[in-house]
Symmetry: C3
Subunit: 469 residues, 3 copies
């Protein structure tokens, strides 16, 4: 009898270890897929710029990954998740720098430690892809030192703080706060895979950066927008499809970082919602481009996909497929008319990062306040004590508490990121210089900055061939 | 003692939950990899068309993914797997439309529900890649409305019905029928990952479409085939390798949708067989091209890989590696001489989709009737009552029952898909118009239909550069 | 009571089966990601050659995958892991040819067999990517028969023997030897994911091949190196990022092939170390290129990533992140100055495979002898009896035993691979011919060997456009 009890206890421990191992492996798989999005953005961006900036654009994306390894390791993760036992600071983390501390190197069972290391890797991949979004918006005219300065500050401070607010256990907007009295708008924000944390942040940085830099030469001539040559539709589409591929990993895995969300049903529903929102948004954009511009626009199709994915990120785990459909549909409108507005106000966002990430992201962050269902909220966040009856979406019978939390968080990150990114670019302007000289911009950076043979630099290539790729 | 029993029961439930979670996660991973095949087909297709149709080809592939989200969600999955309790209709499903019904939203444990949502996603990915195969065959001359009509009908009706027949629990050709008297040819069809369901269907649609459309201008001049410029070998090869990568996910995961096939050994053997069949077929095609055409043909190498993968899909889980070798070898012959036959009958299949998917797919569907072993059949299908001794391959000591089932299913899907696709294209012809006007075809669709700057359209590009990409 | 015991025993078996299933699935996922590296190398290589050899370069990479399927299946795996019960031969395996033998087809539980089939697939993927590394170094001037001969011999004999030495249970350098008296330098070699087995082997083959072939026409003119046109920076960067993506699968999964290393913490730490080493090496190379060449070199950035990944492969599971940082930093120096040395000695390695794989690989193989910690060594290798106190790195308090093992293994594989590859190329030279004729090299192989339309062949393309892609 005693022996049997020992056997059962050992078995129980083995079963728990298996569960934890599964969670760690899902996080690792998600990290790898999320990291692949770096490739997606590289392809989208290099497809959207002029051939004369091919190397410059590619190296920027590669550099962001590399810099993320350093900055996220040394300080970013610590600010984003560092969980100091002594205090419950709602603003910024203060532990786990350089993968140190008992959280990573302590004596806990290896299956628990594994989850933390895997979580670090997933969040590293998130950070790298987030910062690189902005690089597309400011391409072709920003100086390299200014971009490097922005990238380091964003990775090391601006972004991790936003992460801490929503995704840590102690952030002021976190739905995971243990003391329910402290919950933002009695609920905390729902931002599963980062419509707000990732996309509003990156999109706002893109908008501020593109506006402060001014437009590329020739983009607006006497107030009329001129289409600039883009290197390759093939690269853009390849990149977009790689991003969709990676997105499944992102929305499917992140829940496994939390005790409550580590559930294959949460993952499966989030991924199905991503498929539906992306498809809806793509079709809507294609139809809009046909109706309003009388063309089936490749750019609308691709950015339609991305906008749907951006918008579903926040609510993927807590909305029904019908909700995902509506979210995708409205995301398309946000992108489509956001892009037109951008032209009207003469901001030159080379890859349309702000319509995709800021406009669709803001809508996506608001959406769970309308479409979250109580049952799914409970499933994804493991809430107890009736919160699922007060923190679901306004369209699903709850009060506006959740909607209030979403709006409050949106306003704060827009202000936070906008202010700090503007300050960073301002400092860059007065120190290392923000914008290339006219000569260098016209010739392209590949010739002047990156060495080796280049196409456009060697001359002899008629402008018409700039589309070739 | 009673306490211990309670502990053990709880443990048993936790162990089952872990198993189900693993199954769901494998299906999700498989879905993501299968979805990535969309990227593979996009790259293969854009590499095979002329530069003047770059955008048109890309947008078609993207559009198929987006449309699949809508159509598969609203009706496709319901027709393919909708398992109405009241009836056991052998022809078409009738439940689960729009992800509704107790199957998806009922009170079952979340680990069970997760498998169903994950299965939906995997099957969505299958549907999207299947319909897009055909787009390559009809490229460069089909009107957009005609293609959209085909795509919607194929996704919403033609294809899901075929799926139901072979992969549901109630289809007339399904090996999972509970009443063994009803089994097709006493066995039901073996079509693990769709040599028939996916590839014969798509390949037949490709053949019918390409034949009804007629060849591109300049493809056959006075009966002599002329090689048309292809945009890029790099894109073709990138696409082919992406497809191989995704294929592993497809053949490895689909078994986990069934209680009987959710076994890592089944998955591992299927994936190993895919590696061997693809390699064999590639080498055979390369050698054939050297012997018969005195060149090492890139197209033969790439399509050799795809043909081997197409052919192994049906039997991947039930044949030994030696069987996979023979299947790959004969798949190469099917493709190689199928492609020559196509030229002889002057059908212009831009990407050779019919030799790859119809010829090699038909062979692949027949092959398990010859090469399935009883032991592996039992492992993959969990059959009881001696079926493994009568339903294995003719070369492994069984009677011809299984071979009969494979042949019967092949004939039926060829007729079903051929008739309905022909009818769809006919309706398109008399309503929206099937073929582009000569002028538009010659200029390319990028200029006339998709807006923005295009390469070939802006003139000034010598034809020789059309190969550049 | 007896019933309960039966229940508990059944449960215990189910728990073990779940654990084994997880291990098999991780190996399969790792195999798929590792296989995708084939795509990465294809893109890197095709981006580095001149446009006139586009098809030739692509078909070589595809061919290597296909040939690996055949050769690894028939003989390679048997030499690499064939575990003959009767003898404990330290030099070469002798069982498991053509996936035969009780190891693969015996009566063991399916979850055990699954691990072996999955292991085969992972090792097949390793073999295919290893052999293809060399193809980049010898591109643009080697004859097809000579390359095919090299590829078959390397896959079938040279490489599997090296694998056996370090990764089997009986190899002379294996850390898994049961008799501790036989351990190389009392420790056995630490080469987790192959800095030595994979990269030193492939890099040595690349160096020998490139040196024996001589440089491409025009690469060195009167002793001065001339930069040759490269087809596309986009392809190179796409390939590099795909390789990084696949690398995570490689370093994360391989431990699951061993009872001792099948631990999610080992995987997570290895993957985190890969991120840190790659990022460090990339940044270091970028800074070096700015300081020494006054450009931000794309090639330095990309090859910096690869060098960091190559170097961390051996020690990924046993070093702390600080160790990974130093390893990545020094890997960058190895690559950067290795590439310069190569120019100085006028060896024309088209893709710089030898600085990346041989220089950084050699450093990576030595590194665990300095940076392995005892605790992590114990975790990854499951050693008992105090080996973790004598076989860790010299910087972490152990004696030089481990360092001695690393150095000994390095010297032996350099000699083994160097001698045999030189012999193979020599045989090729005197039989089928090693180097293309001048005419064919100047025109490019696409025209003469691979049929169909080609760009450069059709003439009319000004040399300046050779960069276009």
């Amino acid at each position: 009898m005693a022996d049997l009890q020992v056997d059962v206890d050992a078995l129980a421990a083995a079963v728990v270890a298996n569960s934890l191992t599964i969670r760690a492996l899902v996080l690792l798989a998600g990290a790898v897929l999320t990291f692949f999005m770096q490739t997606g953005y590289a392809m989208v961006h290099v497809g959207c710029v002029q051939l004369k900036n091919t190397k410059n654009t590619l190296i920027t994306n590669v550099f962001d990954s590399a810099l993320a390894s350093m900055v996220w390791w040394l300080i970013g993760f610590g600010f984003a998740f560092g969980d100091s036992d002594s205090s419950s600071n709602p603003f910024i983390g203060s532990d786990g720098f350089a993968l140190s501390g008992s959280e990573f190197r302590g004596d806990d069972p290896s299956s628990l430690l594994a989850i933390r290391w895997a979580w670090w890797l997933l969040q590293w991949a998130f950070a790298g892809t987030t910062v690189t979004i902005t690089s597309g918006a400011v391409a072709e005219r920003i100086t390299w030192p200014a971009y490097a300065m922005y990238s380091a500050v964003f990775l090391g401070f601006i972004y991790p703080v936003v992460v801490y607010w929503a995704w840590s256990m102690d952030g002021w907007a976190s739905p995971y706060l243990s003391a329910s009295d402290d919950l933002l708008s009695n609920c905390g924000v729902i931002d599963h895979a980062g419509s707000g944390v990732v996309h509003v942040s990156a999109g706002m940085a893109a908008l501020v950066g593109a506006a402060m830099l001014g437009s590329r030469h020739g983009r607006f001539i006497e107030g009329i927008a001129r289409e600039m040559p883009k290197a390759s539709w093939v690269y853009q589409t390849l990149g977009t499809l790689i991003l969709w591929f990676g997105w499944f990993g992102m929305v499917g895995s992140i829940g496994f970082g939390y005790t409550s969300g580590g559930d294959s049903l949460v993952a499966a529903r989030a991924m199905v919602n991503a498929a539906i929102a992306a498809g809806t948004s793509c079709l809507t954009c294609v139809i809009l481009s046909q109706l309003l511009d009388t063309v089936l626009s490749m750019e609308a199709a691709n950015n339609g996909i991305l906008s749907g994915l951006v918008a579903i990120a926040a609510g993927a785990a807590v909305v029904e497929p019908e909700g995902a459909f509506v979210i995708g549909f409205i995301a398309a409108l946000c992108y489509f008319f956001g892009a037109r507005l951008l032209v009207k106000i003469q901001v030159d966002d080379v890859v349309n990062a702000s319509p995709v990430h800021l406009c669709a992201g803001a809508w996506g962050l608001i959406a769970p306040g309308l479409f979250a269902t109580g049952e799914l909220y409970q499933g994804a966040y493991g809430v107890i004590g009736g919160r699922e009856q007060t923190c679901c979406g306004a369209f699903y019978g709850c009060s506006g508490d959740q909607l209030g939390a979403q709006l409050a968080f949106l306003v704060v990150i827009v202000c936070w990121v906008g202010t700090l990114v503007a300050a960073t670019f301002f400092v860059a302007k007065v120190t290392v210089g923000l914008r290339l000289t006219t000569d260098i911009e016209d010739v392209g950076m590949d010739l002047s900055k990156h060495g080796g043979l280049t196409l456009a630099a060697v001359t002899g290539v008629p402008p018409v061939l700039q589309h070739l790729a």
